[in-house]
């Protein structure tokens, strides 16, 4: 599978990564090599084989659906890390735009 620059643009958009033109060229080449390498999986007959989604065998691990209060000190630490804030609130750019 050979990836084009426009494939890379699409993937980078989905991955929310800004890339330079040089990075696009480099990644197109490197990602193509990786995808070419993993094509060896097609040699393996997996008809009727179940997927491995976990290895512990645990099922339905649940806890009581109870809201626990955040420790005040932890809360203050979390708020102190906000890159941009107004009071105790996290400030972000507008999510929805006019167009």
């Amino acid at each position: 599978m050979k990836l084009t620059i426009s494939d890379i643009d699409h993937i980078a958009d989905m991955a929310r990564l800004h890339l330079t033109e040089d990075e696009k060229t480099l990644y197109a080449e490197q990602l193509s090599l990786v995808l070419e390498y993993v094509e060896m999986l097609n040699e393996v007959d997996t008809v009727g084989v179940e997927e491995t989604c976990q290895v512990t065998g645990l099922e339905d691990v649940v806890r009581d659906d109870v809201v626990k209060k955040c420790d005040e000190e932890v809360r203050n630490h979390i708020i102190a890390q906000f890159p941009v804030k107004v009071g105790d609130l996290l400030k972000v750019k507008a999510v929805f735009t006019a167009d």
């Binding site: 090599l33 512990t56 691990v61």
Partner: protein
């Protein structure tokens, strides 16, 4: 290591002690935790500029914890790790201590809580000397993907320390601390442990809590110890292991008394069945010197009466391919949260979209970007079945290979890495060559079984070689018993 029977230990060698030796000395009053900690900090200061094992050195905290530990010991309240200096990989959260995961996007990140394994270690009064360098978010096998510079191998600074936990392994091998806590997704504890000549255990998936570990691939990630002896690994597992309500994938199985099981359930070679997977020993690219050293260990076990069985794990050659689809897929999803919005370093842009894309552009190194992109692609509409689902099916076949051979043998023995530590820069631009460095360590990760790297020799008296012992799920005790046997046979 150093023999504690000598009177009047010079303080300058305290940092070379194992946990067991340091425990004895501290409890006998031969030296204090403050003295032991000072010896480690002095070593770090002397060596960090060259080796670069530490991103953050926590000197003030260490001295404070050491003083508290000395008080605890003087009251006779010491536990296994009280007063013992250790390091923590920078991708593991320690409350109040900068934890960057070696990526600039978290350059200013100070976790508000401890990872569960760390809180267990801290509760015992162990002494944190610093956070260790690694490949950013654990992505790599050479520590060259760190945004804080590569870690250099203490045995030869022109060589890599291995990765991703290169700083952790180097910090122990270079006696900058007594033990290290690190994380192993696809070999990140075992491979650097082998390159640096120390012991490193990847526990079974689910044995140790992952809470507070910066997630890489959630169905592969494990947290484990790097140390200077088998007994130290056993002690650390006793403290770290066990279920955690904050990690629903931890297993409820009782934590064995690993140290006693190693001591009392000592393996005699005569009762041991060791499997040697031909896919590993016949790999093209396996260094002749590494192969020779591993074969020497196998021969030693055979002469002592162990039954050596040639086994086959036919799907081994697909493990790297499975790994490099499944892991980047989980990576790309996990790292979605690292966007500079709620914590970390944010790029100041006009729109929300540009804030995300530029914060991530500047804050991630190349390898992180590549993995996010491979994963995003493998999970995208139209490709999910061909890549992710296919890889998860082959993963099942790899697990079945292991299940089958463990019906025949107690443990598997392989080299940890096909070659010793390579030169800094040697493989940096060859993405696939770097991925293939994990060829012997990724299968255990794919299967979720334990693997321990044991130092078993050096090439030309310089570069260490590690031997990997793998066991069935939750058979850490058995793996440690065999490691103990090998170590003792080598020392006799």
């Amino acid at each position: 290591m150093y023999l504690l029977t000598l009177p009047n230990l010079p303080m300058s060698v305290l940092n070379q002690l194992t946990i067991t030796e340091a425990r004895k000395g501290l409890d006998n009053g031969d030296f204090s935790s403050v003295e032991l900690t000072t010896a480690c900090l002095d070593r770090i200061k002397e060596r960090n500029e060259e080796i670069n094992a530490f991103i953050t050195i926590t000197e003030d905290l260490a001295m404070e914890e050491a003083r508290k530990a000395d008080e605890k010991i003087s009251r006779g309240e010491q536990e296994k790790l009280t007063g013992i200096p250790y390091s923590v990989k920078d991708a593991i959260c320690v409350k109040g201590v900068r934890s960057t995961a070696s990526a600039k996007i978290l350059d200013n990140y100070i976790p508000p809580y401890d990872a569960t394994v760390i809180s267990r270690i801290r509760a015992q009064g162990a002494v944190l000397v610093g956070k260790t360098n690694c490949d950013a978010f654990g992505h790599g096998a050479s520590n060259e993907n760190s945004m804080y510079g590569p870690v250099r191998n203490p045995h030869d600074p022109s060589k890599v320390a291995g990765g991703s936990s290169g700083g952790a392994a180097a910090s122990v091998a270079d006696n900058q601390c007594v033990f290290a806590i690190a994380e192993d997704t696809g070999g990140s504890i075992r491979q650097p442990a082998s390159f640096c000549g120390v012991y490193g255990l990847r526990p079974s998936y689910g044995r140790n809590s992952r809470y507070g570990i910066m997630p890489m691939a959630s169905s592969f990630d494990t947290v484990g110890p790097i140390a200077k002896s088998v007994e130290d690994i056993a002690i650390l597992m006793e403290v770290m292991a066990g279920s955690d309500p904050k990690d629903a994938t931890t297993v409820p199985d009782v934590v064995p008394r690993y140290r006693e099981e190693v001591r009392n359930g000592k393996r005699e070679a005569g009762s041991l069945r060791v499997g040697i997977p031909k896919e590993y020993m016949e790999l093209e690219g396996l260094s002749v010197e590494v192969k020779h050293i591993i074969e020497t260990q196998i021969e030693m076990l055979r002469q002592k009466g162990a039954t050596i069985v040639d086994v086959s794990l036919p799907h081994t050659k697909y493990a790297i391919a499975v790994y490099y689809i499944a892991v980047p897929s989980e990576d790309s999803s996990n790292l979605g949260r690292i966007d500079g919005i709620r914590y970390g370093v944010q790029s100041d842009m006009d729109t929300l979209y540009d804030t995300y894309t530029h914060s991530r552009e500047h804050g991630f190194p190349d390898e992180v970007k590549r993995r996010i992109m491979v994963g995003t692609y493998a999970l995208s509409a139209g490709y999910y079945d061909a890549y992710y689902r296919k890889a998860q099916k082959v993963r099942t076949l790899i697990r079945q290979d292991f299940d089958n051979v463990f019906n025949e043998v107690d443990v598997l023995i392989t080299p940890t890495s096909p070659f010793p530590a390579f030169g800094i820069g040697e493989k940096k631009d060859d993405v696939l060559a770097m991925y293939l460095a994990d060829v012997f360590v990724s299968p255990a990760s794919v299967a979720g079984i334990p693997g321990l790297s044991v130092p078993v020799g050096k090439i030309e008296n310089e570069l260490p070689v590690g031997m990997q012992i793998m066991g069935p799920r939750l058979a850490e005790s058995r793996v440690l018993q065999v490691a103990d046997l090998v170590t003792k046979l080598r020392n006799n």
